[in-house]
């Protein structure tokens, strides 16, 4: 099916993106899902992961930390708690965060602390991964 889908990414802080794209791949809580124009209606929660979208042969990346996605045949709306474009992520800072989270995880402590450390590790790793990839492909 020809045509494009409108991808909109909003967070409580701002509207991050509103763009016509050819394909979207989003991190659903039950696994990644891809959306092409004409997708059936679909509503999903999102976990921590990577959102990819393609315009022509240009693919862009974005870090998503929880949220919801609503898919209609012509539009994808992503409501994320936190979302960051790959080119906006600071690689050094992300790497430092990974180390810090790993250290905290090793130090152990209360179960709630461990859980928190795990989550922040996951977040930091994701940021780092996306930022590094964007740098390789020459986005940054």
């Amino acid at each position: 099916m020809a045509g494009k889908i409108l991808l909109e990414v909003v967070t409580p802080e701002k509207q991050l993106l509103s763009q016509q794209v050819d394909e979207v791949i989003a991190p659903g809580s039950e696994g990644e899902f891809g959306v092409l124009p004409g997708h059936c209606h679909f509503l999903s929660t999102l976990k921590i992961g990577e959102l990819r979208y393609r315009v022509g042969d240009q693919t862009s990346h974005m870090a998503i930390l929880w949220g919801y996605a609503e898919v209609t045949p012509t539009k994808v709306t992503v409501m994320a708690e936190i979302a960051e474009k790959a080119e906006d992520i600071d690689v050094e800072r992300a790497a430092a965060k990974v180390e810090e989270a790993e250290r905290r995880l090793q130090a152990g402590g209360l179960p709630s602390e461990v859980k928190e450390a795990q989550i922040s590790l996951e977040k930091a790793r994701l940021r780092k991964k996306i930022a590094e990839r964007a740098r390789k492909t020459g986005h940054a």
């Binding site: 967070t11 802080e13 509207q15 999903s44 929660t45 209609t72």
Partner: protein, 292 residues
């Protein structure tokens, strides 16, 4: 004729007032800028959330989640959003007038009405009239954060589920521009298909053609309470921005009025002074003439 001294005193009093209103206007302008940025940033998310949810509410079974249930409307709750501080023109007056009117309308239809109030001004107004206030939040605008929205949204959702009320309306000032506010009456519970909301809605889809991941129930459990927090947050931000806008406009007017008063009184003062001098001269001339 007032004495010259009392006129001088008056002029200096007006000048002092003008200094104060001018300073308040500056402060309001600075705060307006900040709160305007916040509301403009928060709006897209809240509106998306609302359109998703109102789409959803058309499709899912209303009994699927307690917050979506439609009951026979006997008890109505009104959330009145006012400011904590005064000196902002008709800001609070418009809100309470609209609310009182709305309450009367509901009561005329035989419904009982409960009041939830945000802001010191609204609370004082309804307390003076000895209306029953179910719940109140004051002082939230000093340091407005999402925590307040969670607090307010949580209380209201709990009470809706408990059956304290069957419908919830909110009356607040919408921030239209720095000099314009609009009083809005909006229905929050239960969620309806986009009522009086501008966004174009996709044609309703039949219930079968929709996929949920994870299951419908889990999704609703996560999404619906979140929706109300987000809406509560948006409403608080709207009201905060509108308040600063209203105050800025009111103080601008007050500064201008003070300027006018100063001008008028100064003119009168000078006239009186001249009259006194002329009179004195006449006396002297008259006295000199008599000695001849």
């Amino acid at each position: 004729m007032p004495s010259l001294q009392s006129l001088r005193r008056k002029i200096s009093a007006f000048k002092n007032t003008q200094k104060i209103t001018k300073a308040m206007k500056m402060v309001a302008a600075a705060k307006l800028k900040r709160s305007q940025d916040r509301i403009l940033a928060a709006r897209p998310y809240a509106h998306k959330m609302r359109s998703v949810l109102s789409n959803l509410s058309q499709r899912v079974n209303r009994t699927a989640h307690p917050l979506l249930q439609k009951r026979e409307v006997k008890k109505v709750e009104i959330l009145v959003v006012t400011s904590d501080r005064g000196l902002c023109g008709g800001f609070n007056g418009n809100i309470v007038r609209k609310s009182a009117e709305f309450v009367r309308q509901c009561e005329a239809q035989g419904m009982t009405v409960g009041l939830s109030i945000v802001g010191r001004k609204g609370r004082d107004y309804f307390r003076r009239r000895t209306w029953l206030i179910r719940q109140e939040w004051t002082g939230v605008f000093d340091k407005l954060s999402f925590e307040h929205a969670i607090d307010i949204g949580g209380d209201l959702t709990d009470n809706f589920i408990k059956g304290t009320f069957d419908e919830l309306y909110v009356v607040y000032n919408e921030f239209k521009s720095a000099i314009q506010q609009r009083v809005i009456v909006e229905k929050l519970f239960p969620v309806d298909a986009a009522v009086e909301f501008g966004a174009a809605q996709a044609a309703p889809v039949s219930a079968g053609a929709y996929l949920y991941e994870p299951g419908e129930a889990e999704l609703l459990n996560a999404l619906v309470p979140k929706h109300f927090q987000v809406q509560a947050y948006r409403i608080l931000l709207e009201s905060a921005a509108a308040e600063h806008g209203a105050r800025m406009a009111a103080m601008d007017g007050a500064t201008r009025n003070a300027g006018q008063l100063i001008k008028k009184t100064t003119l009168y003062y000078n006239k009186t002074r001249q009259a006194a001098i002329t009179k004195e001269l006449m006396d002297i001339v008259g006295g000199a003439e008599a000695l001849k």
